[in-house]
Amino acid sequence: MKSVEIKNLTYSYVDSTPVLKGVNLSVEEGEYVSIVGHNGCGKSTLCKLIIGLLVKDSGDIFVNGLELNKDNLQAIRKKVAIVFQNPDNQFIGATVEDDIAFSLENDNVPRDQMVSLVKEYATKVGMENFLTKEPGYLSGGQKQRVAIADSLVRHPDVLILDEATSMLDPSGKEEIHRLINKMREENPKLTIISITHDIEEAYGSDRIVLLHEGEIVLSCLPSELFNNTEIINKYNLSVPFVVELKKKCEELGYNVKDKNTVEELGEMIWQSK
């Protein structure tokens, strides 16, 4: 089943050249898609259009078969959750529990349900001991974990991560990646659209979509993209560590055909003569 379907979407800001020039994209239920591309290629604009924060110029957006328009806006926002880049600017409540409750208050959830849901989701993201803490006392990674809890507590079908890890330190990034993998295991139906500059993260997804100057130029498996030297050089992309390592090993004459992780390659290297 198609989770998100975008047909011929165009958008331009008031006084500039078009940002999106006819984007077609369809994402299956439970798929984890990474959207990569250079700054200003229209990635963030695309997210904001999907969730209806911006109004498209032309084209259609469907979420679970529901068309995005004025009447369906609130219904679609219930299905699609988004986590933004800056951890500080999406923390609305005074404390962690208030912030998670904010989403529920908007959905008019009765209070006794709210109390148990806040606890449940704080535990899911590992923030159950920080319920009464204010954002000033949390690290960036913790704040983003709260933001993910805020999104998931509304039971969305689609989770959009708009560079959600780009302002975090490496350990914060690691925390979020682990959390996302856990969420997918718990709910295989959750569709994730991740906009990212982090090539390692993109490598771990089901599919990579390369956006360049408002157009989708490539949509394929991560391994396909990173083995395609021509595309990588043309769009000046960096390559994940494991791919580079594999390539170097191949040049040195190792057989690396079915070795896909750093650990496997490491095993191979220390066992070789």
Partner: protein, 294 residues
């Protein structure tokens, strides 16, 4: 940033902290009114404000409010005290008893009553300071906004958006620490580019301040846009029906506290009425049989 520490919330768990914030606001108003009920006889005034003073000291001890902070903020009042004294001394007041001259400045006689009047006002200002400190350092700012929202709810009948006002207030409170951090970061960034915030003439300092204010505003506006996006994406509709996570409870301890405050208020009111209507009772004179000072 020292001025911002006045009456900052101190996270203890005392019986005053646990009171309903709505009740605390009401009690604060009652105490403030009872302080500013003016009693004309000086000794009655002294005794009744003294009783309230002791009462507040006890409350401060119970609720672990810092006395050091109180002294600090009183220290900030000295300019005001001086100003009051000058006004009371040099502006002639026909109600002063002309026989109570303390000393002469040139040919102008300074009246004892001037000291009494200004002292009375300053004492009451200090009491007011203590009361507001008691409120703000035992109540979370967020709880205060919930209480204010509750007091504004009758106005919703007149289409006044009390929920929106409370939401605005709580977001402003939420972002104060974030923006303070930002201010410090910008100050450091500008200082490293050669801006000096502490020295130079007036115009130089204003110039330095502008280099702080403009980036701060730009960033705050940027933040507000991202914040509104995040709120909208999470389904916030200011005119929609929302449930509430925070519930305020008026319990037995609230009732008890309210009765105590009401008794204090009643006492002050009685003193005021007796003092104004019957005779100028001088309590010291009544009790000790001593002659009033003036």
């Amino acid at each position: 940033m020292d001025s911002l520490t006045f009456g900052r919330y101190a996270p203890y768990n005392t019986c005053v902290h646990r009171l309903d914030p709505r009740n605390k606001i009401l009690m604060m108003v009652l105490l403030l009114v009872s302080i500013f009920l003016r009693v004309d006889t000086w000794s009655t005034a002294l005794i009744f404000t003294g009783v309230i003073f002791l009462f507040l000291i006890i409350l401060m001890i119970i609720s672990k409010v810092s006395f050091i902070q109180l002294f600090k903020s009183m220290g900030a009042m000295w300019v005001f005290i001086l100003f009051l004294l000058i006004i009371y001394i040099f502006i002639p007041n026909p109600t002063y008893d002309p026989t109570h001259i303390a000393f002469y400045i040139g040919t102008y006689g300074v009246n004892y009553d001037a000291f009494y009047q200004s002292g009375y006002i300053i004492f009451r200002l200090i009491l007011m300071l203590m009361i507001t400190m008691l409120l703000t350092s035992t109540t979370k700012p967020m709880d205060l906004t919930y209480a204010i929202e509750w007091y504004l709810t009758p106005l919703t009948l007149l289409k006044f958006p009390s929920h929106i006002v409370a939401m605005t207030l709580s977001i402003a409170l939420r972002f104060i620490p974030t923006l303070l951090d930002e201010t410090q970061r910008i100050m450091k960034a500008q200082a490293s580019r050669g801006v000096d915030f502490n020295r130079g003439g007036l115009f130089k300092r204003i110039g330095a301040l502008i280099s702080l204010i403009i980036p701060l505003f730009v960033s705050a506006i940027g933040r507000s846009e991202e914040l509104s996006n995040a709120m909208e994406a999470r389904g916030y509709d200011p005119y929609g029906k929302r449930s509430r996570y925070r519930v305020l409870r008026f319990g037995w301890n609230d009732l008890l506290g309210f009765i105590i405050i009401l008794a204090v208020f009643g006492g002050m009111l009685a003193a005021k009425i007796i003092d104004a209507n019957f005779m100028k009772i001088d309590i010291i004179y009544l009790i000790f049989g001593a002659k009033p000072l003036f």
